[in-house]
Amino acid sequence: MGNKQTIFTDEQLDAYQDCTFFTRKEILRLHGRYHELAPHLVPMDYTNDPDVKIPLALIVNMPELKENPFRNRIVESFSEDGLGNLSFNDFVDMFSVLSEMAPRELKAIYAFKIYDFNVDNYICKEDLEQTLNRLTKEELTPEEVVLVCEKAIEEADLDGDSKLSFADFENMISRAPDFLSTFHIRI
């Protein structure tokens, strides 16, 4: 239905529509954006699902991500190999989770992944310190950083192991009213 496009088969578009929060038009637009990032790498014809991945360095130059202090972690969390090389599937997935229609639970899962810098399934003090440094451009004094990290863990840690598991994180997110509106990238 609609105008004839040759980038995807109808079945592929249906699959994308059911697996993400985007409509057909938006998926085609996303493909355009993906192609723009590396025109020589990305084919215009995706009907046979080519295995093309754009490296991290090109993705983080997108205007939506360029100024985000967590851009590397965001791209790494959505890549299958964990190194930040995104296929089109991962690209669409990323913006679907970060869109305004994704539910809180789903966003919390990926937010946890993003803030877990050392990928050990816990947000420990070092992860928090790194987060804080990126948020404040490293302009807090070391004592202030330590103090804020201690307070943050104290508030959110429920099981007393001085690091945040996913359950602690989700519980803390559920009490923050602005999470849905801040964890949102418009594309």
Partner: protein, 724 residues
């Protein structure tokens, strides 16, 4: 656990034998690698506790899997479709879903200013965006209201007037003794100088007074249209349209408040959580501009430092001596008195200005200034008094969040009550302070000499307030904000750098919108075109504010809690609505309408048209309507709504308690899990130790007794105790 997995594989075979439950189950087991599972700490391997999702496929969009896996699951789902009986249902639901998505997509084109507001959010953050969302809500509200009024009041009036009907006095009305009140001749001179034309335009007098803009032009045409078998009761339409307009605005506001309140209630108001919530949810990932991001980062640092400082202050204040505490409280009480005196002086000034301007009769430019005197006093006070209150608040030494809330409350109080003072002064003059036996109010029940058509005068005041508000905003833009930016950008002396660029403060801007909307609501009965004028005004506001935002402003250095503040602003809007409703109800039921003008000139009150119209219906409808209005109906209705309110509040408290219970259960489960993991580790250690020393059987019994002592009912003694 190993046995459990093997057991599962036997019961639910490999996926080339698709079944609704088993295929996804084993698909999950087969394709989700172990490290993937633990990465999100979801126990995909265990079957779902509740069987409710075994009948419908899981919502693929909400699965935290990689897209490749999701598409594989989708393909499997598609494969199981060709079961003849259910294929039509599934196809139908699919096409319906497609239709919904297309409809949503098409409707999104009709969302006003979507891209513009998105761009604002990307550059300036959520706080400023919420102001523009609020502005858009008000534009749509005003537009729909003006359509309502145009459709039911304006167009019929135009049609009937163009058919050259004359309004006649109905025979049922006794007009002895009040002939003097019937005289009202606002027709302007046909020869007008341009300056008079312009003055009339902006003060609503002269040619503007006797026009569709104001109440006085509408007449009661209902008596003559019946000849064609078609009757349209204009007075009834006028009144009911006003009532529906208020009801419509109320419903829109409640719906919007409900949405915001739900978020605020679910998250417990967001006051708790402090540092962790700030660190993890404080960063707005939607920000795209370099300058904004840098500013946001320094804002973050500022906020954290302020929070840490507040903690230090709190600790210090907790350690204050008794005399210091007493002196601090005494200072606060004194400063609150000062603020109240200031606000009281403002109200007195407004009252005096209103009285003065109503009674003066000069024309020309001086007359214009006098006419606008109340508006000028109100605007000046709305600017000066909050500034002074901010300076006073510095001395009061409250915490930062309390100071912000207090400043907002004071500003709201000042704005709404100053409007109330203006209306009260008008009322005083029109109805001779409520006492219709006074000299001035004798024949007509209102102050006839001054106010030949008092509704139009009230409408004119509201019109002037609206216009003046608009002019001042535009003037501020042109004369203050643009020059400030030019000076700051081109002159690099210390003073200008310290003053800096304009900051877009959300709270005062939103309060200005609330004030404008309250003025429109108050004036809508007397000036039916006011919502339409307001729509245009707000549309122009949008474009002007957007221009000034991008050209002159820097992003806010102080953070803005959009979710809870949104609710607060809607609440203030609701207060404004209540003020306007009180004015409406009072003027409809208590004050005698003007004899000389308007659709209600021959009824003792405006409300009288409704019972008169109800009487003309057939007897059953009339009886029904009268019953609904009587006490026999309203008292049981009131009792019933009280019961409903009690029920709903009981439900709310039960939900709140269960939320608290679930949260503590969460904590308890975490502790249980820790305990069990420790148990397993201990047991593991002892088992390994006894594997190294197999010839000491009493150790084993020790282990067994210890095992039994801890009563670990979760594990079967014979099961493999390896951790999973």
């Amino acid at each position: 656990m190993m046995e459990l997995r093997e057991f599962n594989n036997q019961v639910h075979p490999t996926p080339d034998y698709p079944s609704p439950y088993g295929s996804q189950h084993s698909l999950r087991l087969r394709t989700v690698p172990p490290q993937e599972t633990s990465a999100v700490q979801f126990d995909w391997a265990s079957p779902p506790e509740d069987a409710e999702d075994s009948n419908e496929p899981p919502n693929l969009r909400e699965l935290p899997l990689h897209m490749g896996l999701k598409r594989a699951v989708w393909q499997v789902q598609q494969m199981k479709i060709p079961v003849v009986s259910s294929s039509w249902n599934i196809k139908q639901s699919q096409t319906f879903r497609r239709f919904c998505e297309v409809a949503k997509h098409v409707l999104s084109y009709f969302v006003l200013w979507k891209r513009g507001i998105q761009k604002i959010g990307g550059h300036f953050g959520g706080g400023v965006q919420s102001y523009f969302l609020f502005l858009r809500f008000l534009v749509i509200l005003n537009f729909l209201s003006s359509l309502l009024i145009a459709g039911f009041v304006l167009i019929p009036s135009i049609v009937f007037r163009s058919m050259n009907f004359n309004s006649t006095i109905p025979t049922t009305v006794n007009l002895t003794g009040v002939e003097i009140c019937l005289q009202y001749d606002p027709k302007p001179d046909t020869l007008m100088v341009f300056i008079t034309y312009f003055l009339d335009l902006i003060s609503g007098t002269g040619f503007m007074e006797y026009s569709y803009l104001f109440y006085g032009y509408y007449t009661n045409f209902n008596s003559m249209v019946e000849s064609n078998g078609f009757s349209y009761n204009i007075p009834l339409a006028y009144l009911l349209t006003a009532a529906f307009y208020f009801l419509f605005c109320f419903i829109c506001m409640i719906i919007r408040m409900g949405g915001t309140a739900r978020v605020a209630v679910v998250t417990g108001g967001g006051a708790t959580g402090g540092y962790s919530a700030l660190v993890f949810t404080g960063w707005d990932h939607g920000l795209q501009e370099d300058r904004t991001t840098k500013l946001k980062q320094s804002n973050f640092r500022y906020r954290l430092q302020v929070d840490l400082e507040e903690e230090r202050l709190k600790k210090k204040s907790a350690s204050l001596t008794l005399s210091q505490t007493v002196s601090l409280y005494a200072l606060r009480v004194f400063l609150n008195m000062v603020v109240l005196i200031l606000i009281g002086a403002t109200f007195y000034g407004i009252a005096k200005a209103t009285q003065f301007s109503q009674l003066m009769k000069t024309t020309g430019f001086k007359g214009l200034v006098l006419q606008y005197l109340p508006s000028m006093v109100i605007t000046a006070s709305n600017f000066v008094v909050p500034l002074l209150c901010d300076k006073i608040a510095l001395l009061e030494k409250y915490s930062a969040s309390t100071t912000v809330i207090l400043a907002l409350l004071r500003a709201v109080f000042l704005r709404l009550v100053s409007l109330g003072v203006l209306l009260y002064t008008l009322w005083e003059q029109i109805t001779c302070e409520g006492d219709i036996s006074k000299q001035n109010c004798i024949p007509c029940n209102y102050y006839y000499d001054e106010y030949k058509c008092w509704e139009t005068r009230v409408g004119q005041e509201m019109y002037k307030l609206t216009l003046f508000d608009f002019l001042i905003t535009i003037a501020t833009l042109i004369l203050v904000e643009f020059p400030r930016r030019i000076v700051v950008d081109h002159c690099s002396c210390k003073l200008t750098q310290w003053v800096g660029r304009q900051e877009f403060l959300v709270a005062p801007n939103v309060l200005a919108l609330v004030y404008s909307q309250t003025v429109v609501w108050t004036g809508a009965l007397f000036c039916p075109l006011l919502p339409f004028i307001n729509t245009i005004k707000f549309i122009l506001f949008y474009f002007c504010k957007k221009i000034t935002l991008f050209q002159n402003c820097q992003p806010a250095t102080r953070n803005f809690r959009s979710t809870t503040s949104n609710f607060f602003f809607l609440l203030v809007l609701l207060f404004g609505w209540m003020l306007a409703t009180m004015v409406l109800l009072y003027s409809v039921t208590k004050i005698h309408p003007s004899y000389g003008c308007g659709p209600f000139r021959f009824s003792p009150t405006m409300w009288e048209v409704v019972p008169q119209a109800a009487e003309m219906l057939n007897s059953t409808s009339a009886e029904f309507l009268f019953y609904m209005g009587s006490q026999k109906f309203s008292i049981p209705l009131f009792i019933f709504s009280c019961v409903l309110l009690c029920y709903v509040s009981a439900l709310t408290s039960v939900h709140g308690k269960s939320v608290a219970l679930l949260k503590s259960q969460c904590k308890l489960e975490q502790r249980d899990k820790q305990f069990l993991v420790r148990q397993i580790e201990e047991l593991n250690a002892t088992v390994q130790k006894e594997q190294r020393e197999p010839q000491q059987p009493q150790r084993e019994t020790d282990t067994a007794t210890r095992w039994n002592q801890h009563d670990n009912y979760a594990f079967d003694r014979d099961e493999d105790p390896r951790p999973y």
